[in-house]
């Protein structure tokens, strides 16, 4: 990857273009104070223009993203892509109705045009608006600055180094008996400058890195194939150090061994088992059952057209009343967690990153909220501020309520995975995310895994295949009977959580320890 030199940067920013256009792409390579100052200036211009046009509230975002993907297959590089995207968005409230417009043109004149159009749009909507939007108070952040905790900027590492790491991983997997291997490294950088008429002006940079591989083993007669992914390696809000620590080259052979072993593993006997879920599997169960059901927009019916509603409704009947699980179950919403994908300095409404209980001692106590939503439930929670869950996946779309990192806290006792296995007579240990599906109110779910081990009399006796477990969220969490300690706690995550219309993606992490659930229904998916 080439980097823009300081001379290039100066040439770009001092020429005619500098007077009008946001300069520079390879922002990691040069000091970017000028570009940031320019973006801040545009945001402030847009706010002034919006207020001048009659907006009661306005915010503006300049967003620049860069996403690089290196993908390989077996002994070859399949694709190298590097995408940049930048744009400018203005959102306004007029008479309690939203107006929003985004543009890829990050120019002074565009600040005025966008502000005017957003106000026009809000006025059209206000004419048929049934109830007015009211925003919860927000603390002013006049000069905010934040960046993901990155040791090695992933864009400072060359494509050849990334490809080399992947090809070495593939080679190790092929040597260990895998017939086909696909692998990749995805790196992203999102830079946001945000300002609001509530006195906030901030700049933050998020990074994400995600190394992955999937190994396929095929039976010698072609009658069967099995796949194993690097599911224990999560995408993280960290730098290239995460790719190095994930050690795909060192772990590829063991994943390939498991793929080969799956070919001859016995098919699971359907029935009831005690399930021990590794964090690499449990994170997705948390995401689907807990993360989505505690989104306030879903509970209020605003997502009925796509993502669905929630069984945790209405809030008045559920908050502080609904028992989600046993007394030792504690779940936290969190935008501050180190390395979390939803970890930020501020959300896309300028609200400082928050951390708050969602389930306390087994009881549901709070939802995920934005400024518009906080007042809907404040009489039950006693909290009149937003938890900072507004997010937009690009400048093209308005922010709305998205999931923060939602994590299950470890148990007070320091149980290890082995302790829990030893305490289990008839069970299954499931590692890694597999197939996953849940209904639109987050009751009925079905999950698979990457590798599944049968446990008899406290011992792991080998892999079984064709495993999926089904359950109903309230009963499932109330079947939680053992939690691992802090040493088993890991972050899992997904880069591609979809919600909203038009569909927007959100990246989110979920921390959890190993956990055991009693008497869960297991299907044989090959039957």
């Amino acid at each position: 990857m080439s980097s823009v030199t300081r001379r290039d940067f100066v040439a770009q920013t001092t020429g005619a273009a500098a007077a009008t256009a946001l300069p520079g792409r390879a922002r990691a390579a040069v000091p970017m104070q000028d570009a940031e100052a320019y973006a801040k200036q545009l945001c402030m211009l847009a706010l002034d223009a919006a207020q001048g046009a009659g907006a009661d509230y306005a915010d503006a975002r300049v967003v620049m993203t860069r996403r690089q993907v290196v993908r390989t297959r077996d002994d070859r590089v399949e694709r190298v892509t590097d995408a940049e995207d930048q744009g400018f968005a203005v959102r306004v409230l007029v008479d309690g109705a939203w107006g929003f417009i985004g543009s890829p043109t990050v120019l002074r004149r565009e600040a005025f045009r966008l502000a005017r159009l957003a106000v026009e749009q809000a006025r059209i909507t206000a004419a048929s608006q049934r109830s007015r939007v009211r925003l919860a108070p927000a603390p002013a952040t006049p000069d905010g600055e934040w960046q993901s905790p990155v040791t090695i900027d992933p864009f400072s590492v060359g494509i050849e180094d990334k490809a080399d790491l992947l090809l070495r991983s593939n080679s190790a997997a092929l040597r260990a008996g895998g017939q086909f291997v696909e692998s990749g490294i995805e790196c992203a950088r999102m830079e946001t400058t945000f300002a609001s008429t509530d006195g906030t002006l901030l700049h933050q940079v998020q990074y994400r890195t995600y190394p992955t591989m999937t190994i396929t083993a095929v039976a010698s007669d072609g009658s069967r194939f099995a796949r194993r992914s690097s599911a224990e390696v999560a995408p993280m809000g960290l730098g290239y150090e995460h790719v190095q620590q994930a050690d795909l080259p060192g772990r590829a052979a063991s994943w390939a061994d498991e793929a080969v072993a799956q070919l001859s593993a016995p098919s699971v006997a359907a029935g009831t088992y005690d399930l021990i879920l590794h964090p690499s599997n449990l994170f997705l169960v948390i995401h689907e059952t807990l993360g989505h059901s505690t989104e306030l927009d879903r509970a209020m019916g605003f997502e009925a057209g796509y993502a669905g509603t929630s069984f945790l409704a209405p809030p008045s009947a559920m908050l502080n009343r609904f028992r989600f699980g046993p007394e030792f179950m504690n779940v936290q919403g969190d935008r501050t967690q180190h390395g979390g994908l939803a970890t930020v300095g501020w959300d896309d409404e300028g609200i400082p990153a928050d951390s708050w209980p969602i389930v306390r001692d087994g009881v549901f106590v709070d939802y995920q909220t934005t400024r518009e939503q906080a007042g809907w439930i404040s009489e039950y929670t006693g909290i009149d501020r937003s938890h900072g869950c507004a997010h937009a996946s690009s400048w093209r779309y308005p922010p709305f309520q998205r999931m923060p990192n939602v994590s299950l806290l470890p148990g007070e006792e320091e149980h290890s995975l082995d302790d829990i296995v030893s305490a289990t007579d008839r069970g299954l240990l499931i590692v890694g995310r597999g197939s996953y599906s849940i209904d639109q109110q987050r009751y009925n779910f079905q999950f698979g895994g990457q590798a599944c081990y049968e446990i008899r009399n406290g011992q792991r006796v080998g892999q079984v295949r064709d495993v999926a477990f089904q359950g109903r969220t309230p009963e499932f969490w109330n079947a939680l009977d053992m939690l691992g300690g802090t040493k088993t706690y890991e972050l899992g995550g997904t880069l591609y959580d979809g919600k909203g219309q038009p569909g927007q993606l959100n990246a989110v992490s979920h921390g959890c320890p190993v956990a055991r659930f009693k008497g869960i229904n297991v299907l044989n998916t090959g039957a």
Partner: protein
């Protein structure tokens, strides 16, 4: 009118970008889009907006090394920087022995897919549509959600082998979910077409969803198990899309798909579906109006994948085809399943006891070998007895092989363009009929409404 690049503008931009890429070979794709949307939730307009954007994708090739850089800025400076980055990245990328020469110009079908009815939609028309749905919902004490989205997109591709192609299309999609005020009934209806005038009327769409919600109110649970089902088009479409995604010659030859057979064989020539089922891709079909070329400019012609139940073709990339003495056969996502004249009502009338399924939700692969998927019914599931719909039933989770399902098709209804996405976005064009399928496997009950 839509603010997208014309053919002349797109060609000028592509050629300008091509000239900037200092490599052995290069390709440029330019996608220009002007889009608008409005969303309703809980009988209120919630979010809406517009954006117009031009994305330029520059691919540089040095021998068998290749890299692609994408930007959404088209000034000379930005393109020059992107071109230089693509060349730098290609220089550092390892060799890819599977790279094929860039496609050369050859005739491609022309498809007129842009309609003024869609291109002229604006904030006023979006609000009018949303307001009409809200008023319809309020009149019968329903809680309505809706999504109206439309865009005009032009796509151009050019390469150093002399190829230039341009296509321009409009799309519109409107969907609504109606829930009874007590939250115990839910119904959905959706419609999509390139031509906004061909969308189902707001009144008809809203009434269809309201009818489903009323009919499914107070639905009673039914025991999971195998049922004959009448799958409405919105339920059929995502299953057919998943089946078609498995039609890949390479995956079959490598033994890792439902189309694989022992010793590197494939299912071509086998009877995979009930007689009478034919699956085709054809961008020129008046109900599809797809882009008539692939991302790299290879023409897309009419292809019969399945004819009267027998598999005729698997798709093949140019590399795989060259390696195996085959003709390349691209698949680009548009699908037609041929239908009959038999109405949905007459299909229901053929079922002694079974379920009518409006649409499916959260479909995920469970077993790639058998194309077994899981998911749930949603927004209107009804018990059929003696050829008549008798009551709503609670939603169910299914675990069903799509390969098996196609063999279990008992009757086929009339085909229509169908909104197949869960999100309400237009998605790839798909034209499907409702199907009657025996022994559809439901594995558990869901409390979700």
């Amino acid at each position: 009118m839509a603010n997208v690049l014309t053919e002349q503008q797109a060609q000028a931009l592509s050629e300008r970008a091509l000239r900037l890429i200092n490599a052995d070979g290069a390709q440029v794709r330019v996608v220009s889009r002007d889009a608008g949307h409005l969303r309703v939730g809980a009988n209120q307009i919630t979010t809406g907006g517009t954006h117009a954007d031009v994305t330029v994708e520059l691919t540089a090739r040095l021998g068998s090394r290749e890299a692609t850089v994408q930007v959404n800025q088209s000034t000379q400076d930005e393109l020059a920087r992107a071109a230089a980055r693509a060349v730098d990245a290609a220089r550092l990328a390892p060799e890819n022995p599977e790279l094929m020469p860039f496609p050369t110009p050859e005739p491609a079908p022309a498809v007129q897919a842009e309609f003024a009815s869609t291109a002229n939609l604006d904030a006023d028309s979006r609000v009018r549509t949303a307001t009409a749905i809200i008023e319809r919902a309020e009149a019968v004490d329903m809680v309505g959600a809706a999504f109206f989205t439309h865009d005009v997109t032009s796509t151009a591709v050019a390469n150093t082998a002399g190829l230039f192609r341009y296509h321009r299309a409009s799309r519109a999609a409107l969907s609504t979910t109606m829930r009874t005020a007590d939250g115990r009934g839910s119904g959905w209806a959706g419609s999509t077409h390139n031509d906004a005038d061909r969308l189902e009327s707001v009144a008809a769409l809203a009434d269809r969803a309201i009818g489903k919600a009323v009919g499914s109110q107070n639905a009673q649970p039914i025991a999971p198990g195998r049922y004959t089902v009448v799958l409405e088009r919105a339920a059929v479409a995502p299953l057919i899309q998943r089946w078609a995604a498995a039609l890949d010659a390479r995956a079959a030859a490598e033994g890792r798909s439902a189309m694989a057979r022992p010793d590197g064989g494939s299912a071509i020539g086998e009877t995979l579906a009930a007689d009478g089922l034919t699956v085709v891709s054809d961008p020129t079909d008046a109900e599809v109006l797809g882009r008539p070329f692939t991302d790299d400019g290879v023409p897309l012609h009419r292809t019969v994948w399945l004819r009267n139940g027998i598999l005729e073709h698997l798709s093949a990339t140019r590399y795989w085809a060259a390696q195996h003495g085959m003709d390349p056969l691209p698949y680009d996502g548009d699908l037609i399943v041929t239908g009959t004249e038999q109405s949905l009502e007459s299909l229901v009338a053929t079922v002694e006891r079974g379920l009518l399924v409006t649409r499916l939700w959260y479909i995920r692969e469970v077993d790639r070998r058998t194309l077994t998927v899981t998911g749930l019914t949603r927004d209107g599931t009804f018990l059929i007895e003696n050829g008549r719909i008798v009551r709503g039933v609670a939603n169910l989770r299914f675990n069903q092989s799509i390969v098996a399902l196609l063999r279990q098709v008992r009757a086929v209804g009339p085909s229509e363009r169908t909104l197949a996405t869960g999100s309400g976005d237009a998605g790839p064009a798909i034209v499907v009929p409702p199907l009657v399928v025996s022994d559809f496997q439901f594995t558990s009950a869901s409390d979700a409404v």
